[in-house]
Symmetry: C2
Subunit: 208 residues, 2 copies
């Protein structure tokens, strides 16, 4: 279906969006019993955010007030949109979420912190969405022999980071060079981030 | 608009449903800048649930995994629907939610516990939806000279309750006569619940 969408729309660079529901039914909290699922798919032309990947982006930290099943990908994204908008209102491009000081992820991306050559990121449990790009990047890093520690870390650790970067489907890999106005890694993407961007690029080129 | 909907549809007993959005815009976490809000309203004929009000209903307790802004009425109801369905799967009619043992409310209604003639209910903060029926019932109770304690209480307190009842727009006031298989108040709606049902009924009759 994805292949078909891309062909029918003669897509170059862009995104394919898929959405599935239980199907139409009268409004009720109980699941409908005999509905046919509705599957919606569409694609949108979109340039890859190369400038963002080169320059990095800014972020602010915001309390993570989401539910306790963030590993479910659903359209119940009100807290994510509120966080993203709060970041934009503060002049930043992404919101780094924390639950009582524990850094979880961002409003629409996963977060990785590099310190002494080691990647730290929140474990893939119920408190974050296990992004596909996250998984691919961790695999590429592991293949490169980079140590990965999937354990919760604190807000305060962000300022001690050598590098910070996010992963997401549309952004791919991009540095966060400023958090709450504090400059990280000299304000430019660090060597490990750039290395992973190169590996990711190679992977894209080799599969298209 | 509500009056008009009711007149146009020649409604007897039923519900009027209103929904407002920021308006149509391309999918993005950021709020759209220049959209006109979409307001949708419709009504549905619905008999008042008199049998439920007379006989009471059963409930099971389920962890409250919702976000930390439950006072916002929105369509991000996935945790509520999951809880309601889990209750139904367990053969019960409602889910009593608790956050680490603190009873908050139900999947689609507010919960009140009666003990020694006093009404206990969770305070109207960010952890519950401040239902209109909740507010009206508390006002009726106060006018009747009943003491109301709006403070968090524990799961264990439920078993010591003389009466338990829920309030919601469609259910109005209904007893919970069984929680996790444990019978409350002899399995029938208690005197204070019935008193409030009468007062609520009088209020309906006097305003229609």
């Amino acid at each position: 279906m994805v292949r078909q969408l891309v062909q029918l729309n003669r897509m170059g660079d862009g995104t394919v969006y898929l959405q599935i529901t239980r199907g139409p039914a009268p409004r009720s909290h109980l699941f409908p019993k005999e509905t046919k699922p509705t599957l919606i798919g569409y694609c949108t032309s979109l340039s890859r955010p190369l400038q963002l990947q080169t320059n990095g982006m800014t972020a602010v930290t915001i309390p993570d007030i989401r539910w306790l099943q963030c590993d479910i990908k659903s359209l119940n994204l009100l807290p994510n949109t509120l966080a993203k908008q709060e970041a934009a209102d503060a002049g930043a491009e992404e919101a780094i979420l924390h639950r009582d000081g524990i850094v979880t992820e961002c409003s629409a991306s996963n977060l990785m912190m590099v310190r002494n050559g080691i990647i730290h990121t929140h474990p893939a449990n119920h408190l974050i969405l296990h992004g596909i790009t996250r998984e691919i990047v961790l695999r590429l890093a592991a293949e490169e022999g980079i140590t990965i520690i999937e354990e919760p870390f604190h807000l305060g650790d962000l300022r001690t980071a050598d590098e910070l970067f996010i992963t997401s489907t549309t952004v791919e890999i991009a540095s966060i060079v400023e958090v709450d106005g504090y400059v990280i890694g000299g304000g430019i993407p660090g060597p490990l981030t750039r290395k992973l961007q190169q590996l990711f690029e190679s992977k894209i080129q080799s599969t298209t």
